[in-house]
Protein backbone atom coordinates (compact mmCIF):
# COMPACT_ATOMS: atom_id res chain seq x y z
CA UNK A 1 0.00 0.00 0.00
CA UNK A 2 2.72 2.38 1.05
CA UNK A 3 4.77 1.37 -1.98
CA UNK A 4 1.89 2.21 -4.28
CA UNK A 5 1.27 5.49 -2.49
CA UNK A 6 4.98 6.23 -2.77
CA UNK A 7 5.08 5.67 -6.49
CA UNK A 8 1.90 7.70 -6.99
CA UNK A 9 3.60 10.49 -5.11
CA UNK A 10 6.67 10.05 -7.24
CA UNK A 11 4.63 10.41 -10.41
CA UNK A 12 2.99 13.52 -9.00
CA UNK A 13 6.38 14.95 -8.15
CA UNK A 14 7.70 14.10 -11.58
CA UNK A 15 4.69 15.78 -13.19
CA UNK A 16 5.21 18.88 -11.08
CA UNK A 17 8.86 18.99 -11.98
CA UNK A 18 8.00 18.62 -15.61
CA UNK A 19 5.70 21.61 -15.37
CA UNK A 20 7.87 23.73 -13.20
CA UNK A 21 11.22 22.97 -14.80
CA UNK A 22 12.55 24.22 -18.11
CA UNK A 23 10.87 22.91 -21.24
CA UNK A 24 12.77 19.71 -21.13
CA UNK A 25 11.31 16.26 -20.46
CA UNK A 26 13.20 13.02 -20.28
CA UNK A 27 11.84 9.67 -21.26
CA UNK A 28 13.41 6.33 -20.38
CA UNK A 29 13.55 3.44 -22.79
CA UNK A 30 14.76 0.20 -21.25
CA UNK A 31 15.03 -3.49 -22.05
CA UNK A 32 16.26 -6.56 -20.18
CA UNK A 33 18.34 -9.10 -22.05
CA UNK A 34 16.01 -11.95 -21.17
CA UNK A 35 12.39 -11.54 -20.08
CA UNK A 36 12.09 -15.16 -18.97
CA UNK A 37 15.00 -16.95 -17.36
CA UNK A 38 14.77 -20.71 -16.94
CA UNK A 39 17.00 -22.13 -14.27
CA UNK A 40 18.05 -25.78 -14.12
CA UNK A 41 19.03 -27.62 -10.90
CA UNK A 42 22.76 -27.37 -11.67
CA UNK A 43 22.50 -23.62 -12.31
CA UNK A 44 25.38 -21.93 -10.54
CA UNK A 45 24.25 -18.34 -10.92
CA UNK A 46 24.17 -15.97 -13.87
CA UNK A 47 23.46 -12.42 -14.94
CA UNK A 48 20.83 -10.50 -16.77
CA UNK A 49 21.65 -7.25 -18.52
CA UNK A 50 19.47 -4.15 -18.44
CA UNK A 51 20.01 -1.68 -21.28
CA UNK A 52 18.42 1.67 -21.75
CA UNK A 53 18.67 5.18 -22.99
CA UNK A 54 17.43 8.59 -21.93
CA UNK A 55 15.39 10.31 -24.63
CA UNK A 56 15.02 14.04 -24.52
CA UNK A 57 12.31 16.12 -26.14
CA UNK A 58 14.60 18.90 -27.18
CA UNK A 59 18.21 17.86 -27.50
CA UNK A 60 19.88 20.17 -25.05
CA UNK A 61 23.61 20.66 -24.77
CA UNK A 62 25.06 17.48 -23.33
CA UNK A 63 27.13 19.19 -20.66
CA UNK A 64 24.02 20.83 -19.28
CA UNK A 65 23.19 18.05 -16.90
CA UNK A 66 24.79 14.81 -15.69
CA UNK A 67 22.22 12.14 -15.05
CA UNK A 68 22.12 9.80 -12.09
CA UNK A 69 20.31 6.52 -12.10
CA UNK A 70 18.98 4.10 -9.47
CA UNK A 71 17.77 0.66 -10.57
CA UNK A 72 15.83 -1.38 -8.01
CA UNK A 73 15.08 -5.05 -8.69
CA UNK A 74 12.39 -6.58 -6.48
CA UNK A 75 11.78 -10.33 -6.41
CA UNK A 76 8.58 -12.14 -5.45
CA UNK A 77 7.28 -11.12 -2.02
CA UNK A 78 6.90 -13.49 0.91
CA UNK A 79 6.59 -13.57 4.70
CA UNK A 80 9.81 -14.29 6.55
CA UNK A 81 10.53 -15.00 10.18
CA UNK A 82 13.79 -13.96 11.81
CA UNK A 83 14.66 -15.61 15.10
CA UNK A 84 17.35 -14.81 17.60
CA UNK A 85 19.13 -17.40 19.71
CA UNK A 86 19.87 -16.76 23.34
CA UNK A 87 21.68 -18.78 25.95
CA UNK A 88 19.23 -20.30 28.40
CA UNK A 89 19.95 -23.12 30.85
CA UNK A 90 23.40 -23.49 29.25
CA UNK A 91 22.13 -24.14 25.74
CA UNK A 92 21.44 -21.86 22.79
CA UNK A 93 17.78 -21.68 21.94
CA UNK A 94 15.56 -19.48 19.78
CA UNK A 95 14.00 -16.95 22.11
CA UNK A 96 12.77 -13.88 20.26
CA UNK A 97 11.40 -13.51 16.75
CA UNK A 98 9.98 -11.01 14.26
CA UNK A 99 7.80 -11.70 11.27
CA UNK A 100 8.51 -9.63 8.17
CA UNK A 101 5.36 -9.25 6.10
CA UNK A 102 5.42 -9.59 2.31
CA UNK A 103 9.00 -8.47 1.96
CA UNK A 104 11.01 -8.99 -1.25
CA UNK A 105 12.71 -12.38 -1.43
CA UNK A 106 15.24 -10.72 -3.73
CA UNK A 107 16.24 -7.08 -3.60
CA UNK A 108 19.00 -5.41 -5.57
CA UNK A 109 19.72 -1.69 -5.73
CA UNK A 110 22.12 -0.52 -8.40
CA UNK A 111 23.24 3.00 -9.10
CA UNK A 112 25.97 4.87 -10.95
CA UNK A 113 27.32 6.46 -7.77
CA UNK A 114 26.52 6.25 -4.05
CA UNK A 115 22.83 6.93 -3.44
CA UNK A 116 23.72 9.44 -0.71
CA UNK A 117 25.33 11.57 -3.42
CA UNK A 118 22.40 11.23 -5.82
CA UNK A 119 19.49 12.44 -3.73
CA UNK A 120 18.75 14.15 -0.45
CA UNK A 121 17.64 12.04 2.53
CA UNK A 122 13.96 12.88 2.25
CA UNK A 123 13.95 12.00 -1.47
CA UNK A 124 15.69 8.71 -0.67
CA UNK A 125 13.09 7.91 1.95
CA UNK A 126 10.15 8.88 -0.23
CA UNK A 127 11.43 6.97 -3.23
CA UNK A 128 12.64 4.01 -1.09
CA UNK A 129 16.10 4.26 -2.57
CA UNK A 130 18.53 1.71 -1.20
CA UNK A 131 18.02 -1.25 1.10
CA UNK A 132 18.16 1.08 4.13
CA UNK A 133 15.11 2.97 2.90
CA UNK A 134 13.17 0.04 1.53
CA UNK A 135 10.05 -0.64 3.52
CA UNK A 136 10.32 -3.93 5.42
CA UNK A 137 7.14 -4.24 7.45
CA UNK A 138 7.47 -6.18 10.69
CA UNK A 139 4.78 -7.61 12.85
CA UNK A 140 5.57 -7.17 16.52
CA UNK A 141 2.78 -8.78 18.49
CA UNK A 142 -0.31 -7.07 17.07
CA UNK A 143 1.51 -4.01 15.71
CA UNK A 144 2.63 -3.52 12.13
CA UNK A 145 5.53 -1.22 11.51
CA UNK A 146 8.79 -0.69 9.76
CA UNK A 147 11.15 0.12 12.57
CA UNK A 148 14.32 2.17 12.44
CA UNK A 149 16.94 1.03 9.97
CA UNK A 150 19.34 -0.11 12.68
CA UNK A 151 16.84 -2.36 14.47
CA UNK A 152 18.73 -5.56 15.23
CA UNK A 153 16.16 -7.89 13.63
CA UNK A 154 16.07 -5.77 10.48
CA UNK A 155 19.87 -5.63 10.36
CA UNK A 156 20.12 -9.39 10.86
CA UNK A 157 17.46 -10.02 8.24
CA UNK A 158 19.27 -7.89 5.66
CA UNK A 159 22.64 -9.43 6.58
CA UNK A 160 21.33 -12.99 6.18
CA UNK A 161 19.82 -12.15 2.79
CA UNK A 162 23.05 -10.43 1.73
CA UNK A 163 25.13 -13.46 2.72
CA UNK A 164 23.09 -15.52 0.29
CA UNK A 165 23.48 -12.80 -2.38
CA UNK A 166 19.72 -12.27 -2.36
CA UNK A 167 19.95 -8.67 -1.18
CA UNK A 168 22.56 -6.52 -2.79
CA UNK A 169 23.51 -2.89 -3.13
CA UNK A 170 26.10 -1.80 -5.68
CA UNK A 171 26.76 1.93 -6.12
CA UNK A 172 28.87 1.38 -9.24
CA UNK A 173 26.82 -1.16 -11.17
CA UNK A 174 25.05 1.28 -13.49
CA UNK A 175 27.36 2.45 -16.25
CA UNK A 176 26.63 5.38 -18.54
CA UNK A 177 28.18 4.38 -21.85
CA UNK A 178 27.37 7.79 -23.30
CA UNK A 179 25.70 10.61 -21.36
CA UNK A 180 22.33 9.13 -22.32
CA UNK A 181 23.01 5.42 -22.88
CA UNK A 182 23.26 3.21 -19.80
CA UNK A 183 23.65 -0.43 -18.87
CA UNK A 184 23.65 -2.52 -15.70
CA UNK A 185 24.07 -6.21 -14.91
CA UNK A 186 21.54 -7.95 -12.67
CA UNK A 187 23.29 -10.88 -10.99
CA UNK A 188 21.09 -13.88 -10.26
CA UNK A 189 22.57 -16.22 -7.63
CA UNK A 190 22.15 -20.01 -7.71
CA UNK A 191 19.27 -20.01 -5.25
CA UNK A 192 17.37 -17.17 -6.91
CA UNK A 193 13.67 -17.47 -5.94
CA UNK A 194 11.23 -18.31 -8.71
CA UNK A 195 8.50 -15.88 -9.70
CA UNK A 196 8.16 -12.47 -11.30
CA UNK A 197 10.61 -9.66 -10.71
CA UNK A 198 9.90 -5.93 -10.97
CA UNK A 199 12.61 -3.57 -12.13
CA UNK A 200 12.17 0.10 -11.21
CA UNK A 201 14.42 2.50 -13.07
CA UNK A 202 14.60 6.04 -11.73
CA UNK A 203 16.44 8.88 -13.37
CA UNK A 204 17.80 11.76 -11.29
CA UNK A 205 19.35 15.06 -12.12
CA UNK A 206 20.58 17.67 -9.64
CA UNK A 207 19.21 15.60 -6.76
CA UNK A 208 15.64 15.51 -8.10
CA UNK A 209 13.88 12.65 -9.78
CA UNK A 210 13.29 13.45 -13.45
CA UNK A 211 11.41 10.40 -14.58
CA UNK A 212 10.97 6.71 -13.95
CA UNK A 213 9.91 3.59 -15.72
CA UNK A 214 9.33 -0.06 -14.94
CA UNK A 215 10.01 -3.36 -16.56
CA UNK A 216 9.90 -6.95 -15.37
CA UNK A 217 11.25 -10.42 -15.92
CA UNK A 218 10.36 -13.91 -14.85
CA UNK A 219 12.47 -16.61 -13.20
CA UNK A 220 11.27 -20.17 -13.78
CA UNK A 221 12.97 -23.31 -12.58
CA UNK A 222 12.73 -26.41 -14.72
CA UNK A 223 13.81 -30.03 -14.39
CA UNK A 224 12.91 -33.09 -12.36
CA UNK A 225 14.02 -31.63 -9.02
CA UNK A 226 11.79 -28.59 -9.44
CA UNK A 227 8.90 -30.86 -10.42
CA UNK A 228 9.37 -32.82 -7.18
CA UNK A 229 9.63 -29.64 -5.09
CA UNK A 230 6.48 -28.18 -6.64
CA UNK A 231 4.57 -31.43 -6.23
CA UNK A 232 5.60 -31.65 -2.55
CA UNK A 233 4.33 -28.13 -1.89
CA UNK A 234 1.15 -28.15 -3.91
CA UNK A 235 -0.08 -31.73 -3.60
CA UNK A 236 1.24 -32.76 -0.19
CA UNK A 237 -1.05 -35.72 0.39
CA UNK A 238 -0.63 -37.24 -3.08
CA UNK A 239 3.12 -36.68 -2.83
CA UNK A 240 3.14 -38.39 0.59
CA UNK A 241 1.11 -41.34 -0.70
CA UNK A 242 3.45 -41.76 -3.68
CA UNK A 243 6.50 -41.59 -1.41
CA UNK A 244 4.93 -44.22 0.85
CA UNK A 245 4.25 -46.41 -2.20
CA UNK A 246 7.83 -45.93 -3.33
CA UNK A 247 9.01 -47.09 0.10
CA UNK A 248 6.83 -50.20 -0.11
CA UNK A 249 8.03 -50.96 -3.64
CA UNK A 250 11.69 -50.59 -2.65
CA UNK A 251 11.24 -52.77 0.42
CA UNK A 252 9.41 -55.41 -1.58
CA UNK A 253 12.05 -55.40 -4.33
CA UNK A 254 14.75 -55.83 -1.72
CA UNK A 255 12.98 -58.79 -0.17
CA UNK A 256 12.80 -60.45 -3.61
CA UNK A 257 16.35 -59.65 -4.70
CA UNK A 258 17.88 -60.77 -1.43
CA UNK A 259 15.52 -63.63 -0.65
CA UNK A 260 17.42 -66.48 0.89
CA UNK A 261 14.77 -69.05 1.79
Amino acid sequence: MVGRAGSALAIAVAALLGLAGPAQAEKLIVSVSNARVTVTPNYAGGELVLFGSVERDNPAPVEQMAYDMVVTVIGPRSDMVTRRKERKFGIWINSDSRQFLMVPSYLAVFSNRPIEAIAAPEVRRRQQLGIKHTLLTQRIGTDYADVVANDQFRTAFVRLREERKLYEEDPAAVKFLTPTLFRTGIPLPAEVPIGSYEVHIKLFGNGEMLTQTETSFEIAKVGFEQFVATAAKQHGIVYGLLTALMALATGWMASIVFRRD
Binding site: P41, N42, P76, R77, S78, D79, M80, V81, T82, R83, R84, K85, E86, R87, G90, I91, W92, I93, N94, S97, Q99, L101, M102, S105, F153, A156, F157, R159, L160, R161, E191, E225, Q226, V228, A229, A232, K233, G236, I237, Y239, G240, L241, L242, T243, A244, M246, A247, L248, T250, G251, W252, M253, A254, S255, F258, R259, D261
Partner: protein
Protein backbone atom coordinates in the same frame (compact mmCIF):
# COMPACT_ATOMS: atom_id res chain seq x y z
CA UNK B 1 28.33 -37.34 -8.71
CA UNK B 2 26.37 -34.30 -7.59
CA UNK B 3 22.62 -34.36 -7.26
CA UNK B 4 20.31 -31.60 -6.17
CA UNK B 5 17.92 -32.58 -3.37
CA UNK B 6 14.65 -30.78 -4.15
CA UNK B 7 13.24 -30.44 -0.62
CA UNK B 8 16.44 -30.35 1.41
CA UNK B 9 17.36 -27.62 -1.11
CA UNK B 10 21.04 -28.39 -1.41
CA UNK B 11 23.35 -30.33 -3.71
CA UNK B 12 24.83 -33.54 -2.34
CA UNK B 13 27.16 -36.24 -3.52
CA UNK B 14 24.99 -39.26 -4.39
CA UNK B 15 27.78 -41.69 -3.52
CA UNK B 16 28.18 -40.16 -0.06
CA UNK B 17 24.46 -40.52 0.71
CA UNK B 18 24.44 -44.05 -0.76
CA UNK B 19 27.44 -44.98 1.39
CA UNK B 20 25.79 -43.52 4.48
CA UNK B 21 22.64 -45.49 3.74
CA UNK B 22 24.66 -48.66 3.22
CA UNK B 23 26.72 -48.14 6.39
CA UNK B 24 23.65 -47.55 8.55
CA UNK B 25 21.91 -50.44 6.76
CA UNK B 26 24.88 -52.68 7.56
CA UNK B 27 24.74 -51.76 11.25
CA UNK B 28 20.97 -52.17 11.34
CA UNK B 29 21.12 -55.57 9.61
CA UNK B 30 23.77 -56.70 12.04
CA UNK B 31 21.75 -55.81 15.12
CA UNK B 32 18.26 -56.21 13.75
CA UNK B 33 17.33 -52.58 14.37
CA UNK B 34 15.91 -50.07 11.90
CA UNK B 35 18.81 -47.65 12.10
CA UNK B 36 16.77 -44.44 12.02
CA UNK B 37 18.44 -43.30 15.23
CA UNK B 38 21.76 -43.29 13.35
CA UNK B 39 20.51 -42.20 9.92
CA UNK B 40 18.74 -39.01 11.04
CA UNK B 41 21.73 -37.66 13.03
CA UNK B 42 24.12 -38.49 10.15
CA UNK B 43 21.97 -36.52 7.73
CA UNK B 44 21.90 -33.59 10.15
CA UNK B 45 25.70 -33.74 10.47
CA UNK B 46 26.16 -33.50 6.67
CA UNK B 47 24.10 -30.32 6.63
CA UNK B 48 20.52 -31.37 5.91
CA UNK B 49 17.96 -29.44 7.96
CA UNK B 50 16.86 -31.51 11.01
CA UNK B 51 13.19 -31.23 10.05
CA UNK B 52 13.86 -32.52 6.50
CA UNK B 53 16.08 -35.31 7.86
CA UNK B 54 13.37 -36.52 10.25
CA UNK B 55 10.57 -36.37 7.68
CA UNK B 56 12.60 -38.11 4.96
CA UNK B 57 14.01 -40.87 7.14
CA UNK B 58 10.45 -41.93 8.05
CA UNK B 59 9.93 -43.20 4.50
CA UNK B 60 13.36 -44.85 4.52
CA UNK B 61 12.35 -46.69 7.71
CA UNK B 62 9.11 -47.81 6.06
CA UNK B 63 11.06 -49.38 3.19
CA UNK B 64 13.58 -51.23 5.35
CA UNK B 65 10.95 -52.49 7.80
CA UNK B 66 8.74 -53.69 4.93
CA UNK B 67 11.43 -55.96 3.49
CA UNK B 68 12.16 -57.22 7.01
CA UNK B 69 8.50 -57.73 7.87
CA UNK B 70 7.95 -59.72 4.66
CA UNK B 71 10.66 -62.21 5.51
CA UNK B 72 9.43 -62.57 9.12
CA UNK B 73 5.90 -63.07 7.81
CA UNK B 74 7.05 -65.94 5.60
CA UNK B 75 8.66 -67.54 8.65
CA UNK B 76 5.45 -67.03 10.64
CA UNK B 77 7.41 -64.97 13.16
CA UNK B 78 4.81 -62.22 13.50
CA UNK B 79 1.96 -62.16 16.02
CA UNK B 80 -0.90 -60.50 14.06
CA UNK B 81 -3.04 -59.87 17.16
CA UNK B 82 -0.18 -58.25 19.05
CA UNK B 83 0.71 -56.18 15.98
CA UNK B 84 -2.92 -55.05 15.66
CA UNK B 85 -3.20 -53.92 19.29
CA UNK B 86 0.19 -52.16 19.11
CA UNK B 87 -0.98 -50.38 15.97
CA UNK B 88 -4.14 -49.09 17.68
CA UNK B 89 -1.83 -47.07 19.91
CA UNK B 90 0.85 -46.58 17.26
CA UNK B 91 -1.35 -44.84 14.71
CA UNK B 92 -2.72 -42.41 17.30
CA UNK B 93 0.82 -41.82 18.57
CA UNK B 94 2.08 -41.07 15.07
CA UNK B 95 -0.69 -38.54 14.45
CA UNK B 96 0.10 -36.90 17.80
CA UNK B 97 3.79 -36.88 16.95
CA UNK B 98 3.25 -35.14 13.60
CA UNK B 99 0.93 -32.62 15.27
CA UNK B 100 3.63 -31.91 17.88
CA UNK B 101 6.25 -31.61 15.08
CA UNK B 102 4.17 -28.97 13.26
CA UNK B 103 3.50 -27.12 16.51
CA UNK B 104 7.19 -27.00 17.47
CA UNK B 105 8.11 -25.84 13.96
CA UNK B 106 5.63 -22.98 14.06
CA UNK B 107 7.08 -21.67 17.33
CA UNK B 108 10.64 -22.07 16.03
CA UNK B 109 11.75 -24.71 18.51
CA UNK B 110 11.72 -27.79 16.27
CA UNK B 111 15.49 -28.08 15.70
CA UNK B 112 16.13 -27.66 19.40
CA UNK B 113 13.50 -30.23 20.28
CA UNK B 114 14.93 -32.77 17.81
CA UNK B 115 18.46 -32.21 19.14
CA UNK B 116 17.35 -32.45 22.77
CA UNK B 117 15.39 -35.65 22.24
CA UNK B 118 18.39 -37.18 20.48
CA UNK B 119 20.66 -36.19 23.35
CA UNK B 120 18.36 -37.81 25.91
CA UNK B 121 17.56 -40.91 23.90
CA UNK B 122 21.00 -41.65 22.49
CA UNK B 123 22.97 -41.05 25.67
CA UNK B 124 20.50 -43.13 27.68
CA UNK B 125 20.33 -46.02 25.22
CA UNK B 126 24.04 -45.83 24.35
CA UNK B 127 25.00 -45.68 28.03
CA UNK B 128 22.84 -48.70 28.83
CA UNK B 129 24.28 -50.65 25.91
CA UNK B 130 27.86 -49.90 26.91
CA UNK B 131 27.07 -50.87 30.50
CA UNK B 132 25.38 -54.11 29.45
CA UNK B 133 28.14 -54.90 26.95
CA UNK B 134 30.88 -54.40 29.53
CA UNK B 135 29.02 -56.54 32.05
CA UNK B 136 28.51 -59.33 29.56
CA UNK B 137 32.18 -59.31 28.58
CA UNK B 138 33.27 -59.37 32.22
CA UNK B 139 30.87 -62.25 32.90
CA UNK B 140 32.25 -64.37 30.08
CA UNK B 141 35.82 -63.55 31.26
CA UNK B 142 34.90 -64.92 34.67
CA UNK B 143 33.31 -67.93 33.03
CA UNK B 144 29.80 -67.28 34.27
CA UNK B 145 26.72 -68.23 32.32
CA UNK B 146 24.60 -65.32 31.17
CA UNK B 147 21.44 -64.93 33.20
CA UNK B 148 18.17 -65.44 31.44
CA UNK B 149 15.96 -62.38 31.69
CA UNK B 150 12.73 -64.25 31.14
CA UNK B 151 12.70 -66.08 34.45
CA UNK B 152 11.39 -63.16 36.53
CA UNK B 153 8.14 -63.16 38.46
CA UNK B 154 4.91 -61.95 36.93
CA UNK B 155 5.04 -58.17 37.20
CA UNK B 156 2.37 -55.54 37.82
CA UNK B 157 1.60 -55.31 34.12
CA UNK B 158 0.05 -58.75 34.28
CA UNK B 159 -2.42 -57.53 36.88
CA UNK B 160 -4.03 -54.92 34.59
CA UNK B 161 -7.62 -55.40 33.34
CA UNK B 162 -8.96 -55.82 29.77
CA UNK B 163 -7.00 -58.95 29.10
CA UNK B 164 -7.09 -60.68 25.75
CA UNK B 165 -5.38 -63.76 24.36
CA UNK B 166 -2.46 -63.39 21.95
CA UNK B 167 -2.51 -66.84 20.38
CA UNK B 168 0.71 -66.92 18.48
CA UNK B 169 2.75 -65.49 21.35
CA UNK B 170 0.90 -67.76 23.82
CA UNK B 171 0.17 -64.79 26.11
CA UNK B 172 -2.85 -63.65 28.07
CA UNK B 173 -2.31 -59.97 28.61
CA UNK B 174 -4.09 -56.65 29.15
CA UNK B 175 -4.37 -54.46 26.03
CA UNK B 176 -3.62 -51.31 28.06
CA UNK B 177 0.18 -51.58 28.27
CA UNK B 178 0.32 -52.77 24.65
CA UNK B 179 -1.64 -49.76 23.37
CA UNK B 180 0.43 -47.45 25.58
CA UNK B 181 3.70 -48.79 24.20
CA UNK B 182 2.37 -48.44 20.64
CA UNK B 183 1.37 -44.85 21.38
CA UNK B 184 4.79 -43.99 22.77
CA UNK B 185 6.70 -45.58 19.89
CA UNK B 186 4.46 -43.93 17.28
CA UNK B 187 4.97 -40.53 18.89
CA UNK B 188 8.76 -40.85 19.24
CA UNK B 189 9.03 -42.21 15.70
CA UNK B 190 7.19 -39.33 14.06
CA UNK B 191 9.01 -36.65 16.05
CA UNK B 192 12.53 -38.07 15.79
CA UNK B 193 12.49 -39.95 12.49
CA UNK B 194 13.20 -43.34 13.98
CA UNK B 195 11.42 -46.67 13.64
CA UNK B 196 11.73 -47.10 17.38
CA UNK B 197 12.70 -50.77 17.20
CA UNK B 198 15.64 -50.27 19.53
CA UNK B 199 13.27 -49.13 22.30
CA UNK B 200 10.34 -51.32 21.35
CA UNK B 201 12.19 -54.64 21.26
CA UNK B 202 13.52 -54.40 24.85
CA UNK B 203 10.07 -53.21 26.03
CA UNK B 204 8.31 -56.16 24.43
CA UNK B 205 10.83 -58.62 25.85
CA UNK B 206 11.31 -57.26 29.36
CA UNK B 207 7.96 -55.61 30.10
CA UNK B 208 5.46 -57.71 28.18
CA UNK B 209 7.47 -60.97 28.08
CA UNK B 210 6.74 -61.53 24.40
CA UNK B 211 8.58 -64.63 23.11
CA UNK B 212 11.82 -63.60 21.42
CA UNK B 213 10.83 -65.42 18.22
CA UNK B 214 7.89 -63.03 17.74
CA UNK B 215 9.47 -59.80 18.96
CA UNK B 216 11.48 -58.54 15.97
CA UNK B 217 8.91 -59.44 13.29
CA UNK B 218 6.03 -57.91 15.22
CA UNK B 219 7.97 -54.74 16.01
CA UNK B 220 8.74 -54.40 12.28
CA UNK B 221 5.02 -54.39 11.48
CA UNK B 222 4.51 -51.54 13.93
CA UNK B 223 7.47 -49.65 12.45
CA UNK B 224 6.20 -50.21 8.91
CA UNK B 225 2.70 -48.87 9.50
CA UNK B 226 3.65 -45.96 11.79
CA UNK B 227 6.41 -44.85 9.42
CA UNK B 228 4.13 -45.04 6.37
CA UNK B 229 1.57 -42.88 8.15
CA UNK B 230 4.26 -40.51 9.40
CA UNK B 231 5.56 -40.11 5.82
CA UNK B 232 2.10 -39.22 4.49
CA UNK B 233 1.29 -36.88 7.38
CA UNK B 234 4.66 -35.11 7.27
CA UNK B 235 4.27 -34.66 3.51
CA UNK B 236 0.73 -33.32 3.92
CA UNK B 237 1.47 -30.90 6.78
CA UNK B 238 4.99 -29.50 6.56
CA UNK B 239 5.94 -30.62 2.99
CA UNK B 240 9.38 -31.67 4.16
CA UNK B 241 9.68 -35.26 2.88
CA UNK B 242 12.50 -35.36 0.34
CA UNK B 243 11.61 -38.31 -1.89
CA UNK B 244 14.89 -38.16 -3.82
CA UNK B 245 16.93 -38.28 -0.63
CA UNK B 246 14.71 -41.05 0.74
CA UNK B 247 15.10 -43.18 -2.40
CA UNK B 248 18.92 -43.02 -2.27
CA UNK B 249 18.85 -43.90 1.43
CA UNK B 250 16.47 -46.80 0.81
CA UNK B 251 18.64 -48.32 -1.92
CA UNK B 252 21.77 -47.99 0.18
CA UNK B 253 20.00 -49.13 3.32
CA UNK B 254 18.33 -52.31 2.11
CA UNK B 255 21.54 -53.40 0.37
CA UNK B 256 23.72 -52.71 3.40
CA UNK B 257 21.26 -54.49 5.67
CA UNK B 258 21.69 -57.77 3.78
CA UNK B 259 25.45 -57.79 4.26
CA UNK B 260 25.06 -56.61 7.83
CA UNK B 261 22.72 -59.48 8.64
CA UNK B 262 25.23 -61.99 7.23
CA UNK B 263 28.16 -60.42 9.05
CA UNK B 264 26.15 -60.31 12.27
CA UNK B 265 25.77 -64.08 12.30
CA UNK B 266 29.52 -64.60 12.32
CA UNK B 267 30.72 -62.04 14.84
CA UNK B 268 30.61 -62.37 18.63
CA UNK B 269 27.61 -60.59 20.09
CA UNK B 270 29.01 -58.91 23.21
CA UNK B 271 31.83 -56.94 21.63
CA UNK B 272 29.51 -55.91 18.84
CA UNK B 273 26.88 -54.62 21.24
CA UNK B 274 29.54 -52.71 23.14
CA UNK B 275 30.74 -51.19 19.87
CA UNK B 276 27.25 -50.14 18.82
CA UNK B 277 26.68 -48.75 22.31
CA UNK B 278 29.81 -46.62 22.02
CA UNK B 279 28.71 -45.40 18.59
CA UNK B 280 25.25 -44.43 19.85
CA UNK B 281 26.75 -42.73 22.90
CA UNK B 282 29.19 -40.77 20.71
CA UNK B 283 26.38 -39.45 18.48
CA UNK B 284 24.39 -38.42 21.57
CA UNK B 285 27.35 -36.58 23.09
CA UNK B 286 28.00 -34.81 19.79
CA UNK B 287 24.44 -33.46 19.85
CA UNK B 288 24.79 -32.34 23.46
CA UNK B 289 28.07 -30.61 22.68
CA UNK B 290 26.59 -28.64 19.78
CA UNK B 291 23.77 -27.31 21.94
CA UNK B 292 26.25 -25.82 24.38
CA UNK B 293 28.65 -23.98 22.08
CA UNK B 294 27.81 -20.50 20.90
CA UNK B 295 26.61 -20.55 17.28
CA UNK B 296 28.47 -18.33 14.78
CA UNK B 297 25.22 -16.76 13.69
CA UNK B 298 22.65 -16.01 16.39
CA UNK B 299 19.93 -15.13 13.89
CA UNK B 300 18.08 -17.49 11.60
CA UNK B 301 15.73 -16.72 8.76
CA UNK B 302 12.85 -18.77 7.44
CA UNK B 303 10.66 -18.05 4.44
CA UNK B 304 7.11 -18.90 5.46
CA UNK B 305 5.55 -18.13 2.09
CA UNK B 306 3.14 -15.42 0.95
CA UNK B 307 0.55 -14.46 3.53
Amino acid sequence: MQLYLPIADLPVNVLLILAMGAAVGFVSGMFGVGGGFLMTPLLIFVGIAPAVAVASVTSHMAASSFSGALSYWRRRAIDPMLAFVLLCGGIAGTALGVWFFVLMRSVGQLDLMIALSYVVLLTAVGGLMVYEGLRAILRTRRGEVALSRRTGNRNWIHALPLKIRFKRSKMYLSVLPVVAIGLLIGFIGAVMGVGGGFILVPMLIYLLRVPTTMVVGTSMVLTLVTMLIATILHAATSHLVDAVLALILMIGGVTGAQFGARAGQRIRGEQLRLLLGLLVLAVGIRFAFELGIKPDELFTLRDVGPS
